[in-house]
Symmetry: C2
């Protein structure tokens, strides 16, 4: 297909497609004449993947480029990539004011959890600091009742991780696993978040947990 | 305390505190002299809450203002508020191209799930469309193996919702429940996301699920 049809199918404007081609986020089309390239389903797929990571996952374009370049690596490497931006955001000022101590305590709390759960986690894993940072925010804002359920949330997170790996195990196209893990986990976070809100809506729909109780 | 100490304790710059005061996100301090206000722990708490919603939750400041104004309402009302922005983002172009049909199919799929799960969900619930939208992205990017586990992810989401409500049930300060629900759920999403990645790291650390298998 021509670039105009690729635009229509993917919902990505032509000038953005050209930018992705220049930046190496999208592979070149086959030259059908010296001035014209022909694109196929693999190009539509890749553009939808970039849109999903950008629009739903909220990842910056530079991260998406690094991550797509890394999909020849293991699932482990890709996960580390995709966990990085939010962590950088959340830990940019741990040394500052009252929160600094809370973050240090929270890291100890997460480490104790990892030991209890029997998880094998590298100390440099971005998700370790990310979890501690959220925990510290919960305590800083006086929401200890959520932070105190850390172990229970971790049990549920392990159920989710097993579901994710179960989905991955059905793949037979091995070259595709890291990329699928990436998109599955980024979108998976959004899916569970939406379903969790639906369930809360249902559980609170009968008027319990409002301020009139 | 003076505004300079409030800045130090909360990590929020003075000009931002003044902006929040003008916009009604932060309640005024007690006047200690005609030109000087005095602040207390409730001001520090509120500023940390705003930072958490802004920096960790990624909510826009206008949403935070609306949501904080709504915390006199029920948990239900607050949840609807906080689910709105991401939904608006994700559904802005459902009529466009190939994805339109997928979104319509996904809404039917989510509705069938809600019936099976026995959830009481309002058809206008933003989380209903948000869930369908993520599902449609999974299918659009060819990640059906994740979308096909919708029911299993919903079961886990219900476990999370029950944990959330369990944390809320320990509160005795009723005026505080909606605000706590809000922060607990926004931060709770980030916590579960980080823990899920930790668990996946652990499960893939032995080298399974890489491209060499």
């Amino acid at each position: 297909m021509r670039i105009s049809e690729l635009t229509q199918r993917s919902g990505v404007p032509i000038h953005t497609i050209k930018y992705y081609l220049r930046e190496g986020l999208l592979h070149s089309g086959a030259l059908s004449s010296p001035n014209q390239a022909s694109y196929d389903g693999s190009h539509t797929q890749r553009l939808l993947l970039i849109r999903a990571l950008l629009e739903v996952g909220g990842l910056p374009i530079a991260t998406i480029r690094d991550v797509l370049a890394a999909t020849d690596d293991s699932v482990h490497a890709v996960l580390n990539q995709v966990s990085r931006p939010s962590t950088a955001l959340m830990t940019q000022e741990t040394s500052e004011n009252e929160r600094g101590g809370l973050v240090r305590d929270a890291i100890l709390e997460v480490d104790a959890l990892v030991v209890r759960a029997g998880w094998a986690v590298d100390p440099t894993a971005p998700a370790r600091v990310a979890a501690a940072d959220v925990l510290a925010w919960m305590r800083a804002t006086g929401r200890d009742q959520f932070a105190d359920q850390l172990g229970e949330y971790a049990d549920v997170a392990e159920l989710l991780a097993n579901l994710d790996l179960q989905a991955l195990s059905t793949l037979d196209d091995t070259s595709n696993i890291a990329e699928t893990a990436l998109i599955g986990i980024v979108l998976g976070d959004m899916l569970v978040s939406a379903l969790r809100r639906l369930a809360i809506e249902s559980l609170t729909a009968n008027g319990s947990f409002n301020n009139d109780r």
